[in-house]
């Protein structure tokens, strides 16, 4: 540890006289190691002990593949819905005036602050065949709860703040001069939006989409109540992990988890590569 801290100490830059470098960094790394790194490394430890064929079998079993496919599809769809409507919400909040705007702006973050189980039971009740909204779906012969559609609804709820909170600050920072210039050059409103505003906003929209997508892939609490959890139909990977843990199949659970983890890490990396600037800003905003 001492050696590591010595190594990390950067002597080339101007050094500060403030005390506590070794103590603060040492404590930070010790705590990070104990709470995050060691427990997380168990995942790799467990899968590395199971051998390749067992790993392959656990991750490519038909039931597992079906759950990956479902998860990917519903997460993508819900992120897409949020990209479209979230963009409109952000636009409306920044550009227009309407009653209760301030309160609505505060409430956008509710899906972050509410326990997922609470969201889950509310949505399941709302969209069940006898629920306030579910009954209308029922009338036209669509099953909303206990179907993939129900999962999409839950994931859309969970991902709602991401696109709004990524697009909003960028939209706020756009100078009016840009649009005025476009207008003075004879562009109509739609042309201005399409060729001037949208290209500026697109990176933040894409970042918000990716954040919502990545969050949806791992979501558990809000989905479990509304999905019905039927293997091959509405079973998502986190649920499959739960089932395997209950059967004490730790290796199988760890194998599925590793695939999920790698998927979210790839997405995380994509976000960073897509737009360093936007994602940093959003991280500050969302926290």
């Amino acid at each position: 540890m001492g050696f590591l801290i010595k190594f990390m100490q950067n002597k080339s830059k101007r050094r500060t006289i403030l005390p506590g470098f070794g103590l603060s960094l040492g404590y930070t790394m010790m705590y990070l190691g104990l709470v995050v790194i060691v427990p997380l490394s168990m995942l790799f430890f467990k899968t590395s002990s199971m051998g390749f064929s067992a790993f392959w079998e656990a991750t490519t079993a038909p039931r597992t593949l079906a759950s990956y496919k479902l998860s990917f599809g519903v997460s993508f769809l819900s992120a897409l819905i949020n990209a479209f409507f979230g963009f409109i919400v952000a636009w409306v909040l920044v550009r227009y005036e309407f009653p209760f705007k301030k309160i609505i702006n505060v409430l956008i973050d509710l899906p972050f602050a509410l326990p997922t189980a609470v969201a889950g039971i509310a949505l399941a009740t709302l969209y069940s065949p006898s629920g306030w909204i579910g009954q209308f779906f029922e009338k036209v012969g669509i099953q909303s709860a206990y179907s993939p559609l129900g999962i999409v609804i839950a994931l859309t709820f969970i991902g709602l703040p991401f696109v709004v909170r990524t697009v909003q600050p960028v939209l706020e920072s756009i100078e009016m001069e840009l649009e005025e210039a476009a207008a003075s050059l004879g562009a109509n409103r739609w042309q201005t939006f399409r060729s001037v505003l949208f290209p500026v906003l697109f990176p933040s929209l894409l970042t918000g989409f990716t954040l919502a997508f990545s969050r949806a892939l791992g979501e558990y609490g809000s989905v479990v109540f509304i999905s019905g959890n039927m293997p091959f139909k509405t079973e998502i990977p986190p649920l499959l992990i739960m089932t395997k843990l209950e059967q004490y199949d730790y290796e199988g659970a760890a194998a599925i988890a590793i695939v999920m983890l790698l998927a979210s890490l790839v997405l995380l990396l994509t976000i960073n590569l897509l737009n360093r600037h936007v994602s940093r800003r959003v991280n500050d905003e969302l926290a």
Partner: protein, 281 residues
């Protein structure tokens, strides 16, 4: 003149488009956000206020509330201490691997709650890495309170650090260095100079971390084992009530979380406003 008129007109959308977009946005938010909240409050009070109070005064609910408070009381201070140390190290010094450290601090945010719980099962569970050691010393971690606390620690790990780091960074280190040259020691600098400067960011970090600690469901669900009256935190209690078709009671308990969430969000905006005014954001 004609041109000027045209410019002002094309600077914003027609009233019709404005109305349409506002309508679409509000309809979307109403359907997805406001209706579920409304449903929780209506369902909680469906059988009248006395029943609502009774549901909250149920002994099992009380046990769940106490456990959730206990988890928060242990997890939040530990993450606060970490957050302050991490922010100090990251914002006051230049060192190798800083961006990697920042990425690692954010890591728990991008991990599925179920995985966050299962890693502790792999470590402390019946077939886990430390199983024989724990059995020999008769220590229970999984399906017991320590496991719940550990999983909560993992999930809420980044929140305080993420709130404090940007605020401390914006403050710079001139004031601390001035105090240093005036002969203050490290502890004095931290408590007398740094802490007052970051108090709002820290305060919101604590509240957010607390809301997450009390509300965590997925990770805690994996390690808890749902032993009634022993390892059921408040969100797990909501789940149990719901699964037993005690809907009114489930929504009554859920309404507590609406209150906690609203408190957290309002505070977030007040703190954000203050930080903006102090020029820190």
């Amino acid at each position: 003149m004609m041109n000027l008129l045209k410019i002002t007109r094309t600077k914003t959308e027609s009233r019709f488009v404005q109305g349409l977009l506002i309508g679409v946005a509000l309809f979307y938010l109403f359907l997805l956000l406001f209706l579920p909240i409304f449903l929780i409050l209506v369902s909680a009070l469906k059988k009248g206020f006395p029943m609502y109070v009774q549901a909250l005064r149920d002994p099992e609910t009380w046990v769940a509330i106490k456990l959730s408070l206990l988890v928060a009381i242990v997890a939040v201070p530990l993450n606060v201490i970490f957050g302050l140390f991490a922010a100090w190290a990251i914002t006051k010094y230049a060192f190798r691997g800083k961006s990697l450290l920042l990425a690692l601090i954010d890591l728990p945010l991008s991990i599925s709650p179920v995985i966050s719980g299962m890693i502790f099962v792999l470590l402390f569970g019946a077939n886990g890495f430390l199983a024989s050691f724990l059995a020999a010393h008769n220590i229970r971690v999984i399906f017991a309170v320590p496991g719940i606390i550990l999983a909560t620690l993992f999930v809420t790990f980044p929140y305080v650090a993420r709130e404090v780091i940007p605020v401390m960074k914006a403050q710079g280190k001139d004031e601390e260095e001035a105090a240093m040259t005036l002969g203050a020691n490290g502890f004095q600098i931290f408590t007398k100079v740094t802490l007052p400067n970051i108090r709002w960011g820290l305060f919101y970090g604590v509240v957010l971390c607390n809301a997450r600690a009390m509300g965590e469901f997925g990770a805690v669900s994996v390690v808890s084992g749902h032993i009634r009256g022993v390892t059921t935190t408040l969100p797990l209690h909501v789940e149990i009530l719901y699964n037993e078709y005690a809907f009114a009671a489930a929504f009554s308990v859920a309404s507590l979380f609406i209150g906690l969430a609203l408190f957290t969000l309002v505070l977030k905006h007040i703190v954000g406003f203050r930080l903006k005014r102090e020029g820190l954001k």
